[in-house]
Amino acid sequence: MINRKKFDFTLLALLATLIFLGCIAIFSASTTMIGDQMSIQNNWWKQIIFAFLAFGAIALLLKLPMPIFDIVVIPLFVLNIIALVLVLFTPAVNGSHRWFSLGGINLQPSESAKLLTILMVARIISKEHLNEYRQILYGFLIVLLPVSLIMIEPDFGTTLVFWASLLAMLIAAEVPLFFILLMVSPIVSVVSSVWWPAIPIWLIILICLLLKSGLSWVTITVSAIANVFIAFITPVFWMGLKDYQQNRILTFLDPTRDPLGAGYQIIQAKIAIGSGSMFGKGWLLGTQKNMNFLPEHHTDFIFSVVGEEFGFIGSIFLLAIFAAFFSRIIRNANDLKIKERKVAASGIMAYLMLQTFINIGMNIGLVPATGIPLPFISYGGSNLLINAISVGVILKYLNERGFIK
């Protein structure tokens, strides 16, 4: 099943390393020392079982004939959308409808939706006869379907990942960069309106970039005026919001405003990571972890355990592995010659990379808290399985590609 010449063993090895590091961190997160007595929660061996299942799933995927793989994408996508509708009718857990509970196992259809939506979008926008406008429109419409359902759940953080993947895929599908720039520019304008000196700086950058893309003066003028307008209308819109709506957005952006909720978790994660200092406190010896200040430190806040116990050296090591891993996928995506597969590989890369960035950034207080787990490291069986299968898809594409020149 593995074609030795084409298969990427390095990527597989990097994946295995990440999952292994995850198991080490989860084992530590599951333990509590009281005096010299250690008690262990039973998460860590569940994660090991799922690690083996994940590699089994990759092996099965590699064995699956390519035509069958190509055929099942669309029906699976449709089933997944139906699941996303059905999940809205489940009882709410912590105020949102995200999970199917089947005999102690929680299934989150929005997890599998990420991979299937990427494959679906790749399928559609890679068709030969499409122009750029249609590529963008179709991609947007396909992503909108799962995203709107996930917004109802509600799970705002997850939807960000979808849009990032779409952008990456459009770039891979050779949509000219200035289209992407024009698509992103209103968002940047809204953000820059927070601090007024940022507006002219951003405008100059935008105009330079557009000039470099060789666009006509008319287009550049129109888009610049539009962006200025957006930048100035945002404060007006902001004033129009009710106090509680403003508060909700501000708390999302700055969790320390809510010290008894999200802010508490962020500050505890920061204290844990910061107190790890240069060399860390040593495996299993994290004092903040041991006090269980963070109720969920084996899932979304697993990086706080890594940062505390292995210090700056350990955190940078983990970052380096992740960087090597993504860099490897980027190279592989470049190597793939079939457009659909190249686009899909880019989408997968973007979604994994953005989740990694958001999760670690959240742990160190760089980005707002949005319950997104750290790929391959956080505890969570179905999440690990889907992420590993996504990498499996890339491995399969590599395995199935034509002759290497």
Binding site: L177, G274, S277, R331, A350, G361, G365
Partner: protein, 633 residues
């Protein structure tokens, strides 16, 4: 290999994002690492629960019955434990906490190691002073001031509080209790837990070891606790004390005094009693043995036990006879010759000398059993049961205390099931007519029944809560509407029964002559109930007092004390005398104390009238209005 434009974008993005992360990590761990290490060592950033102040319990004049008192508590933070064996030795030596119990406590919360566990409460001040120095060796232990309860006198209605146990914690999971919470275990503390408790607040603790604020958060985000509501009861502390003291020493039994028109209980005494304060400390085996001795001081004889009523049940039998037309007030039944032969059995009257032939009023006056034997022969058992049910002798009264016991009255079906299909129920029915045999009632049911007779047939749910004060002011009607029902008696029947009860106390030869007092008219009925608990009869006396208007109804019940007329009636008389002597004082309206007044209370006296709950439901039959009684004094 050709690098596409896309690859370049990806690589730049990857580099930017990861450099951002690496930079932030460097700042956090290397530049600020020392600061965070200091914060981490002190472990001082955490969310702490601010316990809401529990509502207190007052009598109807706002005099305290249960109060909050400060208590020195010892807490353990299990995540800070360094040397468990040393700690368990320390705790065993000073607080008698066994090693196994400590391990169990710590293990139970092992995944919330930063949360404080309450180890001991109500620690004597001296002990705390002595141990404070040693606490330096145990950073996991800390003394803090909490709150405990003080009950003013031994009683059965306040109940007591205790540490929440695992079952309760699971049961009330959604109610935001912590494992250190106190919860009402019995009595009013339990019944009105929701009102008394309030809601705990949260605060973020952010000080370092030197007590300096770390300023990580805006303290405005803290959630203030909502204090619990205080209860104002219908109990009168003076009367309660008098009744408790007048109770014959060494006897077991119960006395209930309640207001006829409002149904509110003025005194609630069950003897022997216990001091609820005992439960606020660790119960020693000695105390536990005392609490569980043969006299059962923990048993609330007013609502938790049902007894054969004996002759105090006879007004009900008589009323059914009159209502169903079997007899008129003038009908004389079989002549009493010290008993009566029914079938081939001779049923004795309590007076072997005999009473001759009587009408209903005289039968009540002398408590002649034979009249009721004869009456019962013409009655249908199931209609008897229905009548008893309608008079609230079967179901619970719904008093605002937990675990009330209901009474019992057998049906034909019950006899068939118990004694076989063809058993004769005649003999049983005859016994039921005089309140013997299978019928059982609780003293509170009896009290409510006589109260209803006094209140011209309107039965009012007995209750203890008058209103709440504190954060919110609710009347009893707003908390939970009182049930009010008419007794099944027709007006003429009711009048006849009242005349009978008057005769019992006031006519010559009445069995309740001992209950007669000056300054008011007493209506009553004695009872001496044979029972399985001992050879001597239970002494009952149920009576009510009218002055210019209906006043109070008293139920005295003494276990195995002898005859009701001889033993219980004098106690009733003492209570009536006390009440008449202190009438002004008891009925005087107390203005709302200043600590409970809010901005709206310009004049506290009208407020008092507003909170009188009985007014709207009082029927027209009453000659005087109840609010008139309350406010004119």
């Amino acid at each position: 290999m050709i690098k596409s434009q896309a690859t370049l974008v990806y690589r730049i993005t990857l580099a930017v994002l990861f450099l951002l992360l690496a930079g932030a990590l460097f700042r956090l761990q290397v530049v600020k690492g020392k600061d965070f290490q200091r914060i981490a060592e002190s472990n001082f950033v955490r969310i702490r629960r601010i316990t809401a102040t529990r509502g207190e319990i007052y009598d109807h004049k706002y005099r305290p019955i249960a109060q909050n008192v400060p208590s020195h508590n010892l807490y353990l933070t299990s995540g800070k434990i360094r040397n468990l064996p040393a700690l368990s030795r320390f705790l065993e030596r000073n607080f008698a906490i066994p090693q196994a119990e400590l391990h169990n406590l710590v293990l139970k919360q092992r995944f919330k190691t930063y949360e404080e566990i309450l180890l001991a409460d109500n620690i004597p001040y001296e002990t705390m002073l002595i141990l404070s120095e040693q606490l330096n060796y145990y950073p996991e232990l800390s003394f803090r001031i909490g709150s405990s309860r003080n009950y003013m006198y031994p009683n059965h209605f306040t109940g007591y509080m205790g540490r929440i146990n695992e079952d309760e914690y699971e049961l009330y999971r959604a109610e935001n209790y912590s494992l250190n919470s106190y919860i009402g275990k019995t009595g009013l503390e339990r019944y009105y837990e929701v009102l008394l408790r309030g809601r705990d607040g949260r605060e973020i603790v952010q000080v370092d070891a030197q007590g300096r604020s770390l300023n990580l958060f805006d303290p405005a985000g803290n959630i203030e606790p909502l204090n619990g509501l205080s209860l104002v009861l219908t109990i009168d502390n003076d009367l309660q004390e008098f009744v408790s003291n007048t109770f014959p020493a060494g006897m077991n039994g119960a006395i209930v005094v309640s207001d006829i028109r409002s149904g509110g209980i003025l005194a609630y005494v069950s003897k022997p009693d216990y001091d609820p304060n005992l439960f606020m400390h660790k119960i020693t085996p000695d105390i536990w043995a005392t609490l569980n001795r043969a006299e059962k001081p923990m048993l609330d004889r007013i609502i938790h036990a049902s007894y054969p009523p004996g002759s105090v049940f006879k007004p009900l039998t008589a009323a059914l006879g009159l209502d169903s037309g079997i007899v008129t007030p003038y009908t004389r039944l079989a002549s009493c010759v010290g008993g009566m032969k029914i079938g081939n059995r001779f049923f004795k009257c309590w007076n072997s000398g005999g009473h001759g032939s009587n009408n209903v009023i005289d039968a009540l006056r002398v408590s002649c059993d034979v009249y009721f034997y004869d009456l019962s022969l013409k009655m249908n058992l199931d209609s008897f049961l229905g009548y008893a049910k309608d008079s609230h002798f079967y179901a619970k009264t719904g008093i605002d205390l937990p675990n009330e016991r209901r009474g019992f009255f057998p049906s034909i079906a019950w006899y068939r099931k118990t004694y076989g299909k063809h058993a004769s129920i005649l003999g049983h029915k005859v016994n039921l007519a005089i309140g013997q045999g299978e019928v059982l009632t609780t003293p509170i049911q009896m009290n409510a029944f006589y109260g209803a007779i006094a209140n011209n047939g309107l039965w009012t749910q007995p209750h203890l809560l008058k209103q709440t004060v504190g954060r919110g002011r609710l009347t009893r009607e707003q908390v939970m509407p009182l049930a009010k029902n008419r007794l099944p008696m027709k007006p003429l029947t009711l009048q006849t029964i009242q005349q009978g009860l008057w005769a019992v106390v006031n006519a010559p030869g009445g069995t309740g002559a001992n209950a007669k007092v000056n300054g008011g008219t007493v209506f009553g009925k004695s009872g001496s109930a044979e029972n399985a608990m001992g050879r001597t009869t239970h002494a009952w006396f149920c009576a009510y007092l009218l002055t210019s208007k209906p006043e109070i109804v008293v139920t005295v019940f003494l276990e195995n004390a002898g005859g009701g007329g001889a033993m219980a009636a004098p106690i009733t008389a003492r209570i009536f005398n006390y009440y008449i002597g202190n009438l002004e004082n008891i009925k005087k309206v107390t203005p709302l104390p200043s600590q409970f007044r809010t901005a709206e209370d310009v004049d506290p006296v009208p407020e008092e009238i507003d909170t009188e709950p009985t007014e709207p439901e009082t029927p027209a039959e009453n000659t005087t209005t109840p609010t008139g009684a309350q406010s004119s004094d």
